[in-house]
């Protein structure tokens, strides 16, 4: 069991021991490259599975079978879709700002890999163990706002522009409650390091201590990811496909990959900060627990998407500024009081 739990660490040690000096620059560089490749695989695999899962969940909530033709129960559908996307013509609109138009999907595809690199997948299994983990994560994920704006502006399309502008308004507003909801946890653990935060949840996950923060995080996270009911950016009934309207083929596919990658990253953060990360009963290895928790979060997001209608744009802003933000600040206050009382009682 212990071996299984530390399987990846043992493999990593084995690779390091191939070098004369296991902690030389070259060994570290090799390990980083390997870690990076693993993260890329996680993102691509997650997108492949999630796209199918999304359609299956959509079918389930709306009482129809979903994709069921290709392969066993339709499980090869995404592969066929991906192949089809690769075969599509790559169109750049004549009036587009070509550089911005082409760069936007590349950047958005990089973001989930950058954020997923600091997540601890198991004990000591963070590809990069960063002391400012949460800070880094939120900072990087907010770059996606810029990508939406670039895509919206660069396409030179009115629908894209409207979608891009919506993205900026929405994502900047929701970043604040998102970050504030994480602060309660940071106050308790006194660390931005995600590994430390997971270690602190060995007895009780923070969803029990910070239920309000979890709800705020979930709502703000949905809005940050442009998932329904906050999918105003790509609302097909209003702005056709928002910033993605002019994209075709693989460029569009990159946006799609980025979207699902970001969704995985946000779920991973939720699992790490609130659900106890890789902590769990010992009969399963830590990383299995971790991915199960991520799966639960992703399923919740899909469930919400296919059930709720889309929110109105002014209600969206009211929700962020008049409701979530005061609640998040209240949560910080309550957490501070709780910590103070705890220390007082414990005689600290």
């Amino acid at each position: 069991m212990e071996t299984l739990n530390n399987l990846f660490l043992i493999i990593a040690e084995a690779i390091r021991s191939l070098f004369a000096d296991p902690h030389s620059v070259w060994a570290n560089l090799t390990m980083n490259v390997i870690n990076f490749i693993i993260v890329v695989i996680i993102v691509v695999l997650a997108a492949l599975i999630l796209i199918l899962l999304e359609r299956k969940v959509a079918g389930w909530t709306s009482q129809r079978p979903g994709p069921n033709r290709l392969g066993p129960r339709g499980w090869f559908q995404t592969i066929a879709d991906a192949l089809k996307l690769m075969g599509k013509e790559d169109v750049t609109p004549a009036g587009a700002d070509k550089f911005i138009f082409k760069v936007a999907p590349m950047i958005i595809f990089c973001l989930p890999m950058m954020t997923l690199a600091v997540i601890p997948y198991g004990r000591n299994m963070a590809p990069i163990n960063l002391d400012l983990g949460i800070f880094y994560f939120v900072g990087i994920s907010s770059i996606s706002t810029l990508c939406f704006l670039m895509a919206g502006w660069g396409s030179n399309n009115k629908y894209s522009l409207l979608g891009g502008m919506r993205a900026v308004a929405q994502m900047i507003s929701y970043e604040i409650p998102l970050l504030f909801s994480l602060l309660g946890v940071v106050m308790i653990t006194q660390s931005f390091n995600l590994g430390v935060i997971v270690e602190a949840q060995s007895t009780v996950p923070f969803i029990i201590l910070q239920p309000l923060a979890f709800v705020i995080f979930f709502i703000a996270g949905l809005a940050e990811l442009n998932r329904a009911p906050f999918d105003l950016v790509e609302a097909d009934q209003e702005v056709v496909a928002g910033p993605f309207t002019e994209y075709t083929g693989l460029r569009w596919g990159l946006f799609f990959l980025g979207e699902y990658g970001n969704m995985t990253a946000m779920s991973a953060l939720a699992a790490t900060v609130f659900l106890g990360g890789w902590q769990g009963p010992a009969f399963l290895p830590g990383y299995v627990w971790f991915f199960m928790k991520v799966g639960v979060m992703i399923f919740m997001m899909m469930w919400v998407r296919w059930t709720f209608p889309r929110i109105r744009i002014d209600h969206l802003m009211h929700l962020a500024w008049k409701f979530l933000l005061p609640l998040a600040i209240l949560n910080i206050l309550l957490t501070g009081l709780g910590i103070y009382i705890y220390r007082f009682v414990m005689g600290g």
Binding site: S62, R64, L232, D236, Q237, E238, F308, P309
Partner: protein, 367 residues
Amino acid sequence: MSIEKTEELILNMGPQHPSMHGLFRMVVHLEGETITHIDPKLGYLHRGMEKLAESRTYSQFIPYTDRLDYLASPHNNWAYVQTVEKLMGVEIPERAEYLRIIFGELARIASHQVCIASTALDMAGWSAWSYAFRDRERICDMYEMTAGSRLTVNIMRIGGMIAEPPEEFWPALRSFLDDTPEMLEEYYGIFFGNEIAMGRLKNVGILTKEMAENLSITGPVLRASGVDYDVRKAEPYSIYDRFDFNVPVRTGCDSYDRTIIRLDEIVESIKIIKQALRDIPDGPIMAKVPKVIKPPVGEVYHRVENPKGELGFYIVSDGTTKPSRLRIRPATFINLQMLSIVAKGWKIQDVVAIFATLDAVLGEVDK
């Protein structure tokens, strides 16, 4: 930094746009996302129905009426054949009248289900959409049993009905009626009772009673503005005077009431069908009409309550086998007038919702 002057954005929505319900096009003038002016452009589905009628015999025109409001085709058949019957002075058998009531009300339910579904879909309520369409399938099955087709049913003839419903039709109808309360509860639970949907629809797109009357709005849209007017009660046609039902009226004047009033109407339709099932007599379903239909010289106007509003046919006969002139008064074409007036000042999102609540069918709008 100086404050830059903003520029008006002119956005062309449609005819190929995900929420334009067919081939509707509107040119929207935007200040940010707020609408300052809407220019509806019609005619992308114009097939010249009225002109076509002049070169078809009276019976040959019945299938064309199916293609008007294709979500409630029995109603269009009904309005047209009744107009011709009125012109000719034909009395149709009792059983045929009851069957027309049953199919007409089924069509009303189906049409309202599509309205609820598409309104939900225009707000990304995907599950609500598929719930409503799932239940509408059962009505389509019943059409298919009787007439052989599911959408453009073409079920009525001048003088009666095309066919007697088969044996399996009656149990299917009864079980459908029994299941309806549960269905409506589901629609309410997944869509109308949802906080977000209420926020999207309530107090959005106010159409006051005066505006509605001045614009000669009809149907559920009018009744949601607090006007108690229904052709079935105001000028009972067919045998509607024998049935006990209410005309649902709501006073919200907003998008929410325009949509949810259709749930109330489904309840009333169920009531009517149940009474029809109780009272339906045996007998022939076709009156004795001549093989070649040749109405006397004259003109006639007849109107019925289509699920979307008042549908009227005006026919001028010159005594030949073909109408000399045929004019259609479409319900949604006239209801659409309100869009550019009501939607001003709302956001793009709300215009999509307001347009959905009008339940426009472009087949009828463009004729």
